[in-house]
């Protein structure tokens, strides 16, 4: 049972080995250039991984902020959306599935929020943590029962498959596409939060939910909408990840932890911080892969520990929030 991030990094390392020994040496006389290219490659790969983390972390941070919920089922929702996309792809094509599957996952999220999570608002965050933990187990088990325990690939469009440049072979269309979607998604989220009534209410709710409620906003509806948006983001991240790594029932697990770390490093209460945290740890993992591959997973936790010692509130976090 290999976890998704492990596989991602292992794939990275295999490619690096190939670069170092065979593919590039004939072309580049200077060894220094090769090393630089490997470093560039790993950094870029790390940033893509970081984009996954950032997308995950954005959804998680959104739900953490307004729903006061550590959504342990975030990874499971991610896998669920990816499997929806897998089923829909033959009918709708990749692009259709990329749009419809996250919405379907969002619909499941809507039901979950209405039936289960809503009952626990105002109680100790421990309870939603445990509830979503149990939910993650059930979703994972359902996926295993419906789609089988073995991994399956998600076909990506041909146009995204091949490299764009001979020298910078790692710049495949799909990788750039992932970065583009991450950027567009983040931009859209920030635009919603900044300019729409819903977004302004969500931000106000983060600051002071009671006052928002007293001003006549239906905070139950607001929290439901917020939860669903978070799940849709998880769904998009899940499908993008599946295009690169393939699908298996536990695929969300490996990406969930780094998303937590991204939030802690970036600082609770700041969406921008969570995003930066995701990119930072992704890049750090990538760079570590160049020098000491075995430590590539551990390094993000070391960064987190260091951040906690030097600056406990994280990059852009607010002091004393959610404590």
């Amino acid at each position: 049972m290999l976890r998704a991030s492990q596989r991602l990094l292992r794939a990275t390392r295999l490619r690096t080995g190939e670069v170092g020994s065979r593919a590039l040496k004939p072309r580049f006389a200077s060894r220094g250039l090769t090393v630089d290219l490997i470093l560039l490659f790993n950094t870029f790969n790390g940033l893509i991984t970081g984009a996954f983390y950032a997308l995950m972390a954005l959804g998680l941070a959104l739900i953490l902020g307004l729903n006061n919920t550590i959504n342990f089922a975030h990874g499971a929702f991610m896998a669920l959306a990816a499997y929806f996309a897998y089923t829909l792809e033959p009918h709708l094509g990749f692009w259709g599935a990329l749009i419809v599957a996250p919405l379907l996952a969002g619909a499941v999220g809507l039901v979950v929020e209405r039936l289960l999570i809503r009952r626990l608002y105002g109680r100790d965050p421990l309870y939603t943590l445990l509830l979503t933990f149990g939910l993650a187990l059930i979703i994972q088990d359902m996926i295993r029962t419906i789609w089988g325990a073995t991994g399956v690939p998600l076909t990506i469009p041909q146009s995204l498959g091949h490299p764009l440049s001979q020298t910078y072979f790692f710049l495949t269309g799909y990788r750039l596409f992932v970065v583009a979607v991450a950027l567009i998604g983040t931009g859209a989220l920030f635009a919603i939060l900044r300019y729409t009534r819903l977004g302004i209410r969500i931000r106000a709710g983060n600051a002071d939910l009671e006052t928002v409620s007293a001003m006549g906003v239906n905070i139950y509806l607001l929290r439901t909408a917020n939860f669903v948006i978070g799940i849709i983001f998880a769904g998009i991240a899940g499908i993008l990840a599946a295009g690169q790594l393939g699908l298996d029932p536990t695929m969300g697990d490996g990406l969930l932890m780094p998303a937590f770390v991204a939030i802690v490093v970036g600082g609770v209460g700041s969406l921008l911080g969570s995003m930066l945290g995701g990119l930072l740890i992704g890049a750090a993992a990538g760079i570590t892969t160049s020098f000491y591959p075995a430590a590539s997973e551990v390094v993000i936790y070391l960064i987190m520990a260091l951040m906690l010692i030097v600056r406990p509130r994280g990059l852009m976090g607010q002091e004393g929030l959610l404590e």
Binding site: I70, L116, D124, P125, L130, L131, A136, L137, T145, Y301
Partner: protein, 337 residues
């Protein structure tokens, strides 16, 4: 002196800290019944469809959950990464037995020290934040150990886990303590009793009352001049030692240490055991462990979807038993009065 009497009254009255609920005499009676039941378990367990290893597993999980509960229930810290110290205890025992000694007791001490010291070193960092943040930090630090165990192949055996060790009989002058299933069960009972005694002593000392004060109102405690972070870290460290002891026993039970012992999903199991049994109660995690281990054992024999069964236990206990079974019983009892 006076302050202590007051906090003792509080402990048995308004704040159900568990240690000391329901009068001294019934406490001793209950303890005697529990001891008798545990000591005679190998004689009657098979009538209920159980077996010695299952009883050992219940006690090991109970000890781990009780250790975790020192932080979770009594100090109010939402730790979701205690499996790390459980797993470190297991790897410690495994490595000791594999390379240094055949003495089970020495190995257990080594494992407990490894896991406990790791918890003690990390405690000051972990307790820098509270609440949701604390939960995420403990999870993440736990996962760090998981990845170290997976990656450090040479020492830990990587994803396949650590094998190549087994428990040997303990030799005393004139007596051999066999480590077959039943013999090992009594070793588990002994360790469980020692761990529970240590927790009991801590919880009934001024230190334990300070832990409860941290849970109830850490701001007021700060105003009173107490160093809240220091006490939270102490609680975390002590609990780490107890959980590591349980983890060491787990490695002996299976003759195997797997990286999954460090994974956050096991931490989640320990938390739900404590919550299901009642995390404000001293014996709550013990009750939770009986139900959890028995349900998991039964479900995994009758259905492939046993993960869903565990998930349902999580959801149902959160929705319907938020104070746990012991909390529910306590409420019934106080309402009757």
């Amino acid at each position: 002196m006076n302050a202590q009497t007051i906090s003792k009254q509080n402990a048995s009255g308004q704040l159900p800290t568990g240690a000391g609920t329901g009068g001294a005499r019934s406490n001793w009676l209950g303890l005697a019944i529990l001891a008798a039941a545990l000591l005679t378990a190998p004689l009657w367990l098979h009538y209920l469809g159980g077996y010695d290893d299952l009883a050992s597993r219940v006690l090991i999980y109970a000890l781990a959950a009780m250790g975790l509960n020192l932080v979770l229930g009594f100090t109010g810290g939402l730790s979701f990464g205690h499996a790390a110290y459980f797993g470190l205890g297991a790897y410690g025992v495994g490595l000791m037995l594999k390379y240094y000694t055949h003495n089970v007791a020495l190995a257990l001490i080594g494992g407990t020290l490894l896991g406990g010291l790791a918890a003690a070193v990390l405690a000051p960092v972990v307790v820098r934040r509270r609440g949701i943040y604390f939960a995420m930090i403990t999870i993440a630090i736990g996962q760090m150990f998981y990845f170290i165990a997976v990656r450090w192949n040479v020492v830990t055996g990587g994803l396949d886990g650590l094998t190549g060790f087994s428990r040997h009989a303990l030799h005393f002058p004139g007596w051999v303590w066999s480590m077959n299933d039943t013999g090992f069960y009594y070793l588990v009972v002994l360790c469980f009793a020692l761990g529970a005694l240590a927790l009991w002593v801590v919880l009934n000392s001024p230190l334990g009352h300070t832990f409860v004060a941290v849970r109830e109102n850490h701001k007021r405690l700060t105003f009173l001049g107490a160093n809240v972070q220091k006490y939270a870290a102490l609680s975390f460290a002590i609990s780490g030692f107890v959980v590591a002891l349980a983890g060491g026993l787990n490695a002996l039970l299976d003759n195997f240490a797997s990286p999954n012992l460090l994974n956050y999903s096991l931490s989640g199991d320990f938390v739900i055991i404590a919550v299901l049994g009642g995390m404000r109660s001293f014996w709550g995690p013990f009750v939770g462990a009986i139900i959890f281990v028995a349900a998991r054992d039964y479900a995994s024999t009758v259905t492939q979807n046993w993960m869903s069964v565990i998930g349902l236990i999580f959801i149902l206990s959160v929705l319907f038993f938020p104070m746990g079974i012991m909390g529910f019983l306590h409420k019934l009892r106080t309402e009757k009065r």
